[in-house]
């Protein structure tokens, strides 16, 4: 009983529960396709039933070559022509660029196994760097450049749009739009080796005003820590060499190999959408992320003592 009720908690599935126009038109198509499939299946089943168990005239009529011409050739040709015309038109619609200057521009780079996120200005230069989360304003088209420096990944937020691959050496353009505020789960959809299964992200849609405030705040790095433990954490962060891979704006840490940590404390998740983000999980992740996400590029820091781990976690928690 509980099982059945719980099962419904997954309903409607994201593909059928669109939150914006780029997913919405596909949902309509999906329902029609499901209807078509069920109808054709029923026709075939009925014909099979007659063929196996039927009697008399109906069965005899099903027995000639004519039925192949009608049900096997003419019928599919007509149905498929209709579907094809719709499908092609919709494809054009979905790949039409947004009106000049209206879209928010971003760049997301799929990397093994996390997402580099850049907010771009009109000219295409980076306004602000982040990772594993996209914050977007409701009601505005977001045009995202998809790239990859290593292997093929695929960007997929089912409630906002279909997926598009990130192919090394190429630059693809996807458009998403959310029409209601909320958090939308996304995941890498192209097998990219090792912990591909643990390469998630989320899109958080804000009301436009709230989003504008959020962006304005984000343009400057958070204030340097004042509390002693956090300050010590900041020193340890640099001393342990974290800055070789991670960047924290306003500090000497300027590595680009791993996620930008300027605002890491404000993120919902750790490890690319897989763990809740708080001091405890941060300590676990830094201490031995290999136990959590085997194969990921961050080495375990077993040399750090508990106090040191906590200090770094406190420091990072404050980057918000």
């Amino acid at each position: 009983m509980t099982v059945a009720v719980e099962g419904l908690s997954g309903w409607p599935p994201p593909v059928l529960d669109p939150a914006g126009p780029y997913a919405g038109s596909v949902t309509a198509l999906t329902w029609v396709l499901i209807g078509m499939a069920v109808a054709v299946l029923l026709i075939v089943l009925a014909a099979l039933y007659i063929a196996l168990f039927g009697k008399g005239e109906l069965r005899r009529r099903l027995g000639g070559e004519k039925v192949i011409w009608i049900l096997g050739i003419a019928f599919p040709t007509v149905v498929l022509t209709g579907l094809l015309v719709w499908g092609l038109t919709l494809t054009r619609h979905l790949s039409a660029p947004a009106a000049e200057g209206t879209a928010l521009k971003m760049r997301v780079s799929g990397e093994m196994w996390w997402w580099r996120v850049d907010y771009l200005d009109e000219a295409g230069s980076t306004l602000m760097a982040d990772a594993n989360e996209l914050h977007i304003p409701v009601g505005r088209t977001v045009e995202i450049e998809l790239v990859s420096p290593d292997v093929v990944h695929s960007f997929w937020v089912p409630q906002l749009s279909g997926k598009l691959d990130m192919v090394p050496g190429r630059r693809n353009l996807i458009r998403i739009q959310a029409d209601r505020p909320g958090t939308y789960a996304g995941q890498c959809a192209e097998y990219c080796g090792g912990p591909h299964a643990l390469m998630g992200f989320m899109v958080i849609a804000h009301e436009p005003a709230e989003w504008a405030r959020w962006l304005a705040r984000r343009r400057a790095p958070p204030a340097a820590p004042t509390d002693a433990q956090a300050q010590r954490g900041g020193q340890l962060f640099l001393a342990a060499g974290c800055g070789a891979c991670h960047r924290i704006a306003g500090t000497p840490a300027n590595g680009l190999a791993g996620p930008d940590l300027t605002y890491v404390g404000a993120r919902r998740t750790l490890g690319a959408g897989i763990l809740p983000n708080h001091r405890g999980t941060m300590m676990g992740w830094i201490g031995d992320s290999q136990a959590i996400k085997p194969g990921n590029r961050m080495p375990p820091y077993r040399v750090l003592s508990a106090e040191q781990l906590e200090a770094i976690a406190v420091y990072l928690e404050g980057r918000r």
Binding site: L48, G87, W156, G193
Partner: protein
């Protein structure tokens, strides 16, 4: 020697009733009336006797090889199925720890690879080996040793490949192995090499089988079995083999290129050095999508045969089914990029790939409704094969409908690479191939077994499999729409994916239980035999149900209908009593009747090779070659490769012998030659098919060159100076000319200094010279294969040419050796003809390749 045994007043025009000049009136002499001589049958049995004891390994009869082949394919089905069960346990609930991440990644890669390469393709090819000769009333397939070789290479190589799993060395890049994930930067271990080289011998094996099947269907049909009277399975296998010939070269070139990138750092797919990862996807899917139809068509052919037999009525819409098979064979080559809708192609290309994907579903619809119409016309019996046929049909239709859904680009952008696709592809393959295969097991087992399989157990097997199949894969559609991507070793609880996943896991075990029960049925009831079989339990109307021995039918009947056993009363007895063609052995050797491709008019008697240990050895060494290279044991790997070549030459040595008498009576006073040359021989056909394979590999290399040029052309370096073209073209052109001259010289032997065989060696030498200059000019130009995509593809073409030049040299020496032993007959000789053809082709290919890579960048 004329290939027309008995002229019916000159060769007919295309509008005539005769294709070769054979007078169809002669068929009226059959069945013959006179008594057959004493001991004729015993002699036939002696000639076709299979070796016993351990020597059974040297058997080449299609009954044995076919059965081994089916058995091996089924073994791989079970192994890959077990992998699937373990994966389902891992995915039953979120965050399970049954399989660690790395092992899971190896498991799903192996599951896909083994199911596609080691089960599905070999299984249908095996059924071709097993059933085709009997259906066509041929004594055996035209190249029995080739099928033995194909089988052993597959079995030995396949088992070693599978064993890589036990050492943690199994490939882990997914069965379609996308670079750059699979290039050395991201897959430094030898796991990916196992895939690339491991698949190598499967490709060889598949192509060997395809050659066999094309020649078998076109050249060894029973007299009178015109194209319009061929069993549908033969049509399906013809299209199947044709598709392998066109599709497999793409993956052959692809795997070679990726292996070259991995081993020698040639950047075919590396975007930072002028390659492109999408090139692999194009090459792979140009093979990969037709592959699905390569698997489906033979099974559909079997379904067409079974539906007709089970409903006891001729197939409704035979011509439309042939149309469907032929059309699928073509259109399936226009749908490869629907696996790439999400890579960001121009939307115009996306559009017509979508259109082709829709078009390919029309032939499937034709077949489905033709089967339903046949069932309605006849009186379908409600037995196990019917259950599997009908059940498979329902499953296949469901898979086809989701196929139409994903052919719609916007929907595919959502469904692509999600569990929806996992559901779709399993519906198509299980409904389109696995259920028909089980129907086939039940339907044709009585042809090879003393007892039929059990109807009672079979019904349990069916219902368990049918229910299990739906329980496993139906929920996956929903799982996919819920956003679960494929190839994930685990998932987080908050995504609400556990209910559908748990159902799928339960279903997998129900499906597994059905298959287990089938094994019980096999163990209890399947008893292999070639003599006292259970016989025509289901009342089939085609020739495989004639009384059978290792030699297939005692005599080869004249066919006047699509279902001769139904329409030609007394045919079984007449065949058994030897009242048709070739009631015994005419020359004392194994032999089969070669007929013409359209109308199946008798042309000549082909002498067939018997058991031999050499195909087995060459197969072992071939597999050894690939596997030893994989584990980087280069020296013994190369030794193994040389041994494989020597074994092949040794086996060929015994073939193509002129026998006495030159003309024999094949029944009712009709005389045909025992040795002919030229366009009607089976060897000529096989060579043509082989050259098409080589040409396709060449075209794939050219395509790669042009493709990369289209992306990075602006930074390509200029080719070597044009004057180099003169010696290169002279070498290649000269080789073609000399080879053609050699064939003319063969008729008149002059001196040993310039004998035809010497001339052939000169031809091969000229070819090698042209190639050496070609290679040198590129090296001198400063372009290296490691430098860029241009270098990789140019040297890829040169390397491909180098490979055929090497074979040409070997071939010329082999012919010279035959000549010195007096084995090259005059005025014409088949081996000699084929060698000239091969060398002439090499010259043309070399010239085209050299011209394109030099002229193209300059012109455009």
């Amino acid at each position: 020697m004329s290939s027309a045994p008995i002229a019916a007043g000159g060769k007919g025009s295309p509008g005539a009733r005769s294709e070769t000049g054979f007078d169809p009136e002669l068929y009226r002499r059959f069945p013959t009336k006179e008594e057959r001589p004493e001991g004729e049958l015993a002699e036939l049995e002696r000639v076709w006797q299979a070796p016993r004891g351990w020597r059974l390994l040297t058997a080449v009869n299609n009954n044995y090889i076919g059965t081994f082949y089916v058995g091996a394919a089924f073994l791989f089905f079970l192994l890959a199925g077990i992998l699937a069960l373990v994966m389902r346990v891992q995915l039953a609930l979120p965050l399970q720890g049954v399989l660690p991440q790395e092992t899971y990644n190896q498991f799903f890669t192996m599951h896909g690879t083994v199911m596609m390469f080691l089960f599905a393709v070999p299984a249908v090819e095996a059924l071709g080996v097993l059933l085709l000769p009997q259906m066509l009333a041929a004594r055996d397939l035209p190249f029995p040793r080739l099928s033995a070789y194909a089988f052993w290479a597959y079995l030995v190589g396949g088992l070693c490949f599978f064993a890589s799993l036990f050492f943690g060395l199994a490939p882990n890049g997914g069965w379609f192995m996308y670079p750059p994930l699979t290039s050395t930067a991201f897959s430094p271990g030898i796991n990916a090499d196992f895939w690339l080289l491991g698949i190598g011998f499967i490709e060889i094996s598949a192509i060997a089988g395809a050659i066999e099947i094309i020649v078998g269907v076109l050249k060894t049909r029973a007299p009178g079995m015109t194209l319009a009277r061929m069993p549908i399975f033969a049509w399906a296998m013809l299209v199947f083999a044709g598709m392998i010939i066109i599709a497999f070269p793409a993956v052959i070139f692809g795997t070679l290129a990726l292996e070259l990138e991995r081993a020698l750092n040639w950047p075919f797919f590396d975007p930072t050095r002028g390659g492109d990862p999408l090139l692999w996807q194009h090459l792979f899917w140009f093979f990969g999508h037709p592959e699905v139809y390569i698997i489906f068509l033979p099974a559909a052919g079997l379904v067409s045969m079974m539906v007709s037999s089970l409903a006891k009525t001729p197939l409704v819409g035979y011509r439309l089914i042939v149309l469907a098979l032929v059309a699928t064979g073509f259109i399936s080559f226009g749908v490869w990029a629907h696996h790439m809708f999400a890579v960001g192609m121009p939307r115009l290309s996306i559009g017509f790939f979508s259109a082709a994907s829709m078009a390919v579903s029309v032939p499937a619809g034709i077949q489905v409704f033709s089967w339903i119409a046949t069932l309605s016309t006849g009186k379908p019996s409600h037995n196990v094969p019917t259950l599997f046929v009908v059940g498979g049909l329902v499953i296949f239709v469901m898979g086809g409908l989701t196929g139409v859904m994903v052919a719609m680009v916007p929907f595919d952008w959502q469904a692509h690479d999600s569990y929806f696709i996992v559901a779709h592809l399993h519906y198509v393959l299980i409904g389109g191939m696995v259920f028909p295969l089980f129907a086939t097991f039940y339907f044709w087992a009585p042809m090879m077994s003393r007892r039929p399989l059990s109807e009672r157990l079979g019904k349990w097997v069916f219902w368990l499999m049918f229910a299990g199949m739906h329980l496993t894969f139906l929920p996956m559609h929903l799982t996919g729409l819920m956003g679960m991507p494929r190839r994930v070793w685990t998932y987080l609880p908050e995504r609400d994916w556990e209910i559908t996943n748990l159902l799928s896991t339960a279903g997998a075990f129900v499906l597994g239980a059905g298959i287990l029960l089938f094994l019980v049925d096999i163990a209890r009831n399947f008893r292999f035999t070639t003599g006292d079989t259970a016989g025509n339990v289901y009342g089939g109307g085609t020739l495989e149900w004639l009384p059978n021995g290792l030699y297939a039918a005692r005599s080869i009947p004249v066919v006047t209908s699509r279902d001769p056993l139904w329409d030609q009363p007394g045919i079984s007895e007449d065949v058994e009593e030897g009242r048709y063609f070739l009631p015994g052995t005419a020359t004392g050797h194994r032999e089969t009747l070669i007929t013409s491709p359209l109308n199946a008019e008798p042309q000549f008697l082909q002498i067939m090779p018997g058991p031999s240990v050499w195909p087995l050895f060459s197969a072992i060494f071939t597999a050894g070659f690939f596997l030893l290279l994989t584990v980087q044991a280069y020296t013994i790997g190369v030794v193994s490769g040389v041994l494989a070549i020597l074994c092949v030459l040794r086996w060929l040595w015994e073939t193509d012998r002129v026998v006495e008498p030159a003309r024999v009576d094949i029944g009712a006073g009709i005389q045909v030659p025992t040795y002919v040359t030229g366009g009607s021989t089976h060897g000529w056909w096989a060579m043509v098919v082989l050259l098409i394979v080589i040409l396709m590999i060449f075209l794939m290399a050219l395509f790669s060159y042009l493709y990369l040029y289209g992306i990075h052309g602006r930074v390509w370096v200029s080719p070597p100076a044009t004057f180099w073209l003169a010696p290169v073209l002279a070498g290649y052109g000269g080789a073609t000319g000399l080879a053609l001259l050699a064939r003319r010289l063969l008729a008149r032997e002059t001196s040993t200094l310039w004998s035809p065989a010497t001339n052939l060696i000169f031809a091969a030498g000229t070819l090698a010279l042209g190639w050496a200059v070609d290679l040198h000019s590129w090296r001198a130009s400063g372009l290296s294969p490691e430098s860029s995509g241009q270098g990789a593809t140019v040297y890829g073409l040169v390397a491909h040419q180098g490979m055929v030049v090497f074979v040409a040299l070997l071939y010329a020496v082999y012919i010279a050796a035959r000549n010195s032993r007096g084995l090259v007959s005059r005025p014409r000789n088949t081996s000699f003809d084929l060698a000239t053809m091969f060398i002439a082709y090499c010259g043309v290919q070399g010239s085209v390749g050299a011209l394109v890579v030099r002229l193209f960048p300059g012109v455009v």
